[in-house]
């Protein structure tokens, strides 16, 4: 087992190395006018160096003077030491900015995730146990509709209904207009209020796939021979479903849920942008659109790490949860 994990981690590192390289190469190929405009700005100051000199200096500062490959190694060298440089857009160290906004995303994603599991798993189980019933069709259609809903359309609908027509929530932002005048508890409530719609959006958009996954796996288990045996044994249907079948369904579920845990840190790029919630998704969206290379570079690599970590966790969990895998 340990050998397997170590091997997986090593492979992941190699993958990460190449992913980082691809991302870096892409970034370097981007026509970013940021350095130029910065150099122009600095050259405009009285008694300053010429534009070209500033350009050189800034390029050297951001490792942009080297070729892509040496540039990548230079970036890698500083990144391994935990230095990702200063964000161009936010003019603070990348990690500071990241630290500022990642927790909001995590909280938002976490709440949505828990709700998602609480909704998807029971509904999926119901749909599977009552296959081809009206409930099954309804749940399947809802799940599919959730998958098919474009985030931005659903968010706009929510805004129209709950913000405009009913006036329950604000259209944008994390805090209301009079946030600064509220007590600590009031501030908390204000933030919570602003997070309702984004979380609802996240849940509805992503609940469908987990629901379908649960249903499929539950169906597979219910078709297994040992379920027939359990039924033949005269066990109550309740016991068959929740004792025998559901436990086995949990194996793939735990795997996939564990695998998506790291994803909670990645932020919800589209949803946060739509609701202007200053989480990591929104912040990095602005950085990416604004051509902020250090921040985008960091965010992309961070996302890759999260993906790899997710895969690793789900593989390990699979082995942990299902003893049959370990034996094999």
């Amino acid at each position: 087992m340990r050998k397997y994990i170590v091997k997986r981690i090593l492979i992941s590192i190699v993958i990460l190395f190449f992913v980082g390289f691809i991302i870096y190469a892409l970034m370097r190929c981007l026509p970013t006018s940021f350095i130029e405009s910065m150099a122009r700005q600095k050259a405009m100051q009285p008694g300053s160096k010429s534009f070209d000199e500033w350009m050189e200096q800034l390029k050297a500062m951001y490792n942009m003077d080297k070729n892509i490959i040496p540039g990548y190694f230079a970036w890698l060298g500083t990144a391994l030491r935990g230095e990702f440089g200063d964000s161009w857009l936010y003019t603070v160290p990348v990690l500071d900015k990241f630290n500022d906004c990642v927790w909001l995303s995590f909280v938002m994603g976490g709440i949505a995730f828990v709700l998602e599991i609480l909704i998807a798993v029971p509904l999926g189980v119901i749909a599977a146990t009552k296959q081809y019933s009206r409930a099954d069709y309804t749940i399947s259609i809802i799940a599919l509709a959730g998958i098919s809903l474009p985030t931005f359309f659903f968010a706009s609908l929510l805004k129209l209904i709950f913000s405009v027509k009913l006036g329950w929530f604000d259209l944008f932002g994390l805090v209301g207009r009079n946030y600064n005048h509220l007590s600590a508890w009031g501030q908390f409530l204000d933030k919570a209020n602003h997070l309702v719609l984004p979380i609802v959006t996240l849940v509805v958009i992503s609940v469908g796939s987990l629901m379908r996954y649960t249903r499929t796996n539950m169906l597979e288990v219910l078709n297994a021979d040992y379920i027939r045996t359990a039924r033949a044994k005269g066990l109550s249907e309740r016991k068959v479903v929740y004792h025998h079948a559901f436990r086995n369904t949990l194996i793939p579920l735990v795997t996939i849920i564990g695998g998506s845990l790291p994803g909670l840190f990645s932020g919800a790029l589209i949803t946060e942008t739509l609701f202007a919630i200053p989480g990591i998704g929104y912040v990095s969206y602005q950085a990416m659109v604004g051509g902020d290379i250090p921040f985008s570079m960091f965010y992309l690599v961070f996302l890759s790490v999260l993906t790899l970590l997710g895969n690793l966790i789900s593989d390990i969990l699979y082995a942990v949860v299902d003893p049959r895998v370990r034996i094999a």
Binding site: L26, L144, P150, F153, S156, L157, L160
Partner: protein
Amino acid sequence: MSQFDDTNKETNETTANPNEEHYSLNDDRRVKVLSPGALVAKRFFRNRLAVVGLSILIFMFVFSFIGGLLSPYGEDEFFYRDDQINKEFAVVTENSDFRYLAKDSSLFGSPVQAQTMLAIQKGNAEFSYSGNNYTLTQEGTDFYSIASGGSIVGIAYKDIVSSSTEGQALSFEFVYAALKSHAALEQEVENEAAQETAGASEAAGATDDAAEPAAPDAPAVKTFTVDGLTYTIDEDGGVLQGDTEVAYISRYIVQAIMPDIFLSRDFKEKLIDTIAAGESKFTYTDESLIMDDDATAAEDSAEDGIGAMDDALPEEDSSAASATAEYTIERSQNHANWIIRQQQSSRQYDSYSFPSSKHWLGTDKYGMDMLTRLMYGGRVSLMIGFIVIIIETVLGVIMGGIAGYFGGWIDNLIMRLVDIFYCIPSMPIILILGAAMDQQRVEPGRRLIYLMLILGILGWAGIARLVRGQILSLREQEFMTATEACGISIKSRIFKHLIPNVIPQLIVNCTMGLGSVIITEATLSFLGLGVKFPFASWGNIINDVNNTHVLTTYWFIWIPAGTLLLLTVLAFNLVGDGLRDAFDPKMKR
């Protein structure tokens, strides 16, 4: 026998034959074997949800690809509307002060004018100023002549004589004579009116027609002669030389706000009539403009035509193309004058117009027909979906097939590549590339191609993994050993024997994938980083909803597009599901 008929009807088309009794037992018992394809189709069509999905898809294709042809409008055809702007056009003042006109300015300077006014107010017939004696003669209502030493030196009047031709000064003699005859005429008309009423009251008792007022129907006319020219003056105050009008007399002063506009008398008269009638609106058709602006008028009528395509940007109609304009009259606050506003039309994008018979779903920000936009948008969205999926599939099948078949280090290499592509965060990368293309101002058509390539290249890893997994298990089966034994080439072993066995899975995957590609494209376009104008896509149609005003007010801009998008993706998913069940009945209980 009859119980077999029932089952036969389902499977055997020939049971329609009425002579079934003549069939031999063999024919009757023959089991019709459906081809695998037909079997799948049968299973598919039994699934109600899948059929619903399929019909939605068919509708979408008809809507997007045929609808665009049927729509009378073009994809990027702008519509304009003529907006009415009330512009201040003229000011009308009722003259309440005396105006003075001197024949001899040395004898009738402004101090004398002031004295005249005092005299008029007091009712004095004579006054003197700086040694000169003046006599004041009332010649009509609010019309006096001032004489000194027996000859007239000036006049004071309230009715204003203005020249009909622009910028032509009128001589003192002319004004004097005109006013004089105007006053006389007025007097006459008044007398006549008095007589008339008197006559009417007299005639009230009598019934004879002779008592009918003898007032001439022809307008009262007076003539006067100045400098040997004879002028006639009519009741309305027009001064005519022969048939041409040279001047007119009116109590009202009408001044255009723009100095370069000359107001015709006809216009002024109509305006004053309207004011007198107490109305606040009137229309006036300037005939001279109709004559001049034939071309503009023609253009106007062309705009009304549906197919008219006009590249011109909407701009104010400077040429006052419409000869007929509507004017509103408003009394200014101190009641001293009236402000006339001309309703001028200016052309603008017919943006956000609500659904009407001309535009069934209204128009968007740039005045483009929404329904047509949706049709073309569907075309782009579906096309992008298909092309991206084709790219993904081709790449995925080749890579997965090679990896699965050869195994070993090739497999390892390709699978690590797949891992890498799996790991690349695709959405951020597409966003970044979109922003970069924005910066480079990539031409929209080319951008569309780049977008498809990027989406395709970032998405093939999943298909490669699927194909490889399938092939790994198929490779070990007997039929593959058989192909090897037959000495079939590797290429055809992969592409003729392995890949066809993967195709069911592939089709299911692609159908589901289509939905997600369409969503990705729509999301990008929604963020303004995907498909760009002039191309429509469902995403960039909804893009307008970023404007809160549109979100709250103009539902027809974004709800139809979003619904179409949702339905299409849902339909792809339903069909994909149905296909999976149809291909793999083991999944069904």
